[in-house]
């Protein structure tokens, strides 16, 4: 039996009123007339309440925010409500959402913190199912590609708790390069995937051409997750097949059930980063800047290459429309064939409906529209490859061109669906809730190797790998002590063919 929350005391109740008032007054209530008429919003399938109201929505912003800020005023005007949108970095969402849930001021529609398993949010009573608010939900769900909605991922107890309007078929470490600098260095940025040697050579030549004014490569080194993202993805491309996502997926080979942090492929990726530094190709001050700062410096001509995500495309198109760049796949070690990258089943940017929300009818109506082909086309036309629409058909009809189209083509070619242990065994959600990242994490180890505070790539990655193994074993032991039926075998998928998608039928074979 779930314990009632014994930490609710009157102080929070007093603050609730003040916070709710402040929240209503503070964030983006956009005038409904600003973008009138851009979207053809259909009538609701069933009558909505006529009492109006204010719907609050929070997500991680970026290009999603650009779209919502265009759509929300029109939708709000058509339904006689107001919509308050907060697009915040994940660091803020990770802090704000749990606090808001605890003091009863959480937004109506929100994304759950990255470090939280969805099953925990459902079990803790943070969210309610969308079933009552999305008309003909079964028919609506059938319109999504297979594998987007899965038990244990966004569906629990036969009901849909999380809505995915975007696909998770993308990476965040593509090679984005300046056409001008690459051409001057003798490289054709459109030529496709480069090898590590080519990246190093191009970076050296760009740096030489720059003569102190610009450099070959840049990264937001202060933002530790970027180091891990780069090494993880490069390692996968080089052949260290592993999952993506949270601690219970990331860096784990689903062939062996073991972490691959100390693999040759990961070491080679770290070595590439260190070589870029020792070559003098790294932009000075990478350790002082975060990823958005590094991204902002690219169109200013500070560097020739950056390993970043497709969200740069929309930002650069807006901030520097005349700057020409190319997006290409992640580089591969010399002599190696590029391997697929694996994503888990399900979509991304999952939206959850607050348990206490009174705006469920409107949220359900809006989300239902966004799940239709027309809604998905609207999404794709604005957001593009930054957060690809979950419907491939809609993406094709959106008429995307240029870097967005190139990025989507790359993702379709390079990404496959891999196994997801939690789909196989729901109790892995309990393991996720118990898991604690060891100190220092892989991200910090790579950062330490880059700054020179740690010496020896192999030694440090081996030690890091062991820490991760120990941490997962400890989380499994704690989960089992709480009654979970899990073992390391749950991470081994002997029927995984790394050259094809791991579909729902594969889980049944196990």
């Amino acid at each position: 039996m779930k314990k009632k929350n014994k930490f609710k005391v009157s102080r929070r109740t007093i603050m609730k009123g003040a916070l709710a008032t402040g929240a209503v007054m503070s964030a983006a209530s956009i005038p409904s007339s600003l973008f009138a008429g851009e979207y053809n919003i259909p009538d609701p399938l069933k009558a909505l309440p006529t009492t109006g109201g204010n719907m609050r929505w929070i997500d991680s912003g970026d290009m999603k925010g650009v779209f919502w800020k265009k759509l929300f005023p029109e939708y709000a005007a058509s339904r006689g409500i107001t919509i308050e949108y907060d697009g915040l970095p994940w660091k803020e969402i990770n802090k704000i959402v749990p606090l808001a849930v605890r003091n009863g001021t959480v937004h109506d529609v929100f994304q759950i913190p990255l470090n939280m398993d969805p099953g925990v949010a459902v079990a803790e009573g943070w969210v309610q199912p969308w079933d009552d608010y999305i008309e003909n939900i079964d028919e609506w769900l059938a319109g999504f590609p297979s594998g987007v909605y899965l038990p244990g991922v966004n569906q629990f107890g036969g009901k849909t708790y999380g809505v995915c309007l975007t696909a998770n078929k993308r990476t965040g470490t593509c090679l984005l390069s300046s056409n001008k600098y690459m051409s001057e260095a003798g490289y054709d940025p459109q030529a496709g995937r480069m090898t590590y040697s080519e990246v190093r050579d191009a970076a050296k030549k760009i740096t030489k051409n720059g003569n102190g004014q610009y450099y070959g490569w840049i990264i937001g080194g202060n933002q530790v997750n970027r180091w891990e993202d780069v090494v993880h993805t490069f390692g996968q491309v080089a052949g260290a097949h592993s999952g993506r996502g949270g601690f219970t997926n990331r860096h784990i080979s689903f062939k062996t059930g073991k972490f691959v942090i100390d693999s040759d492929e990961y070491m080679a990726a770290v070595e590439l980063l260190l070589q870029l530094k020792s070559d003098g190709s790294a932009f000075p001050g990478v350790m002082s800047m975060n990823a958005p700062q590094a991204r902002a410096l690219m169109p200013q001509g500070a560097a020739g290459m950056i390993f970043q995500g497709p969200w740069c495309i929309g930002t650069w198109a807006k901030d520097a429309p005349d700057w020409e760049f190319t997006i290409a796949s992640e580089p591969v070690p010399d002599g190696k064939k590029a391997e697929p990258l694996y994503i888990a089943e399900g979509g991304s940017n999952t939206l959850w409906l607050s348990k206490d929300s009174k705006m469920g009818p409107f949220a359900g109506d809006l989300v239902r529209f966004m799940g239709t082909e027309q809604g998905q086309i609207y999404w794709a036309q604005t957001v593009g490859a930054a957060d690809p629409a979950v419907s491939p058909g809609a993406v094709a009809k959106a008429g995307l061109t240029g870097a967005s189209a190139q990025a989507l083509k790359m993702f379709n070619e390079n990404l496959l669906v891999g196994p997801n242990p939690i789909v196989r065994n729901k109790d892995i959600g309990i393991v996720a809730a118990k898991s604690r990242l060891p100190d220092p994490s892989l991200a910090l180890v790579i950062q330490g190797l880059y700054t020179g505070q740690l010496q020896g790539i192999e030694k440090n990655l081996k030690e890091c790998n062991q820490r991760y193994e120990d941490a997962l074993d400890k989380a499994i032991d704690e989960a089992r002590a709480d009654g979970a039926n899990v073992s390391r075998d749950d991470w081994v998928f002997p029927n995984w063919d790394t050259s094809s998608n791991y579909g729902a039928d594969k889980y049944l074979e196990l």
């Binding site: 929350n5 939280m116 990331r250 410096l297 809730a433 505070q453």
Partner: protein, 304 residues
């Protein structure tokens, strides 16, 4: 002689209590309550996200004591304090001496200029300083290279050897104005007669300051040092905005360590509010103990 009862005394002072009531309520809500609850949370294995909190006694404290990163942050916090407090005390005193001089006509102007960083939001300063110290077109590096003090740019905030001294320098610059004001207040308690008498007796320059003025302001110095020491142990906003404790823990002080443990975890693992509270309580008690020790020794010195 008639002695009033406690209730009568309280009733007689009722307006005082009424006026301190709002502040007391706010103090209770935002200071005492969080302190008390953090002691309780420190005894739990709790993420802060869920209701699933398990009482584990002092296990969090044991884990913190055995955590190398905890002690590294602890050590760095005191490095920060010992590196900034003496500089602020001495510099603040020297500036206060100059600005206390009635002959100096522009004294109010200089006081304002030196005090301006104090009233500027610390988060803004942190962010602006990342641009000022940037090795790419940052003004600090441009000045150093233009004056041939360095041949190439220095990554002040990205180099583990320079990051902490740089943040310490910004901290001193930001809060020097308040130390100056403390010293000005102290110096202005010295009667003019003392200066006149000293002049007549031939005590001038350094002799005046060492033998006459400093002994008079010494009690203030004790208080100023104590206040500055505690302030130097509370530098979270500045470090979080400038470096977030990096690179690779080089500038991670205790508050950043606690914040990282409580909130900022990598994707896929839960935060550890219980453990972070234990680290916070341990830190608070340590600071209290060291402050008390400081106060004890300062008073001993004062008696001498």
């Amino acid at each position: 002689m008639y002695k009033k009862s406690l209730s009568q005394q309280i009733y007689d002072a009722r307006w005082c209590y009424l006026f301190i009531l709002p502040c007391s309520i706010l103090t209770g809500m935002f200071v005492l309550y969080p302190i008390g609850m953090s002691w309780y949370f420190s005894l739990l294995d709790w993420s802060g996200f869920t209701d699933d909190a398990k009482f584990i006694g002092f296990q969090n404290y044991v884990e913190a004591i055995n955590d190398k990163f905890f002690w590294d942050a602890f050590y760095r916090s005191f490095i920060f304090m010992f590196g900034t407090v003496p500089v602020k005390i001495v510099l603040g005193f020297i500036i206060a001496v100059f600005l206390n001089n009635q002959v100096l006509k522009l004294s109010p102007f200089f006081r304002t200029i030196i005090f301006m960083p104090v009233v500027t939001a610390i988060a803004i300063i942190g962010i602006v300083m990342t641009f000022i110290f940037s090795p790419f077109n940052g003004p600090a590096n441009k000045l150093l290279m233009a004056t041939n003090l360095t041949s190439g740019p220095i990554d002040f905030l990205g180099n583990p050897d320079t990051v902490l001294p740089t943040v310490m320098g910004v901290y001193v610059w930001k809060w020097l104005g308040i130390t100056m004001m403390y010293w000005l207040a102290a110096l202005q308690t010295v009667p003019q007669d003392v200066y006149d008498a000293a002049k007549i007796d031939g005590a001038e320059g350094l002799k005046l300051w060492i033998n006459i003025i400093l002994p008079i302001v010494l009690p203030f110095a004790i208080v100023i040092i104590l206040v500055e020491a505690v302030s130097a142990l509370n530098v979270f906003p500045l470090i979080e905005t400038m470096t977030a404790g990096g690179p690779f823990f080089s500038s991670e002080v205790m508050e950043v360590y606690i914040f990282r443990t409580a909130f900022i975890t990598d994707a896929g693992t839960m935060p550890r509010l219980g453990y972070a509270c234990a680290a916070g309580v341990f830190w608070g008690v340590a600071v209290l103990f060291i402050t008390a020790l400081q106060g004890f020794w300062m008073r001993k010195i004062r008696r001498i």
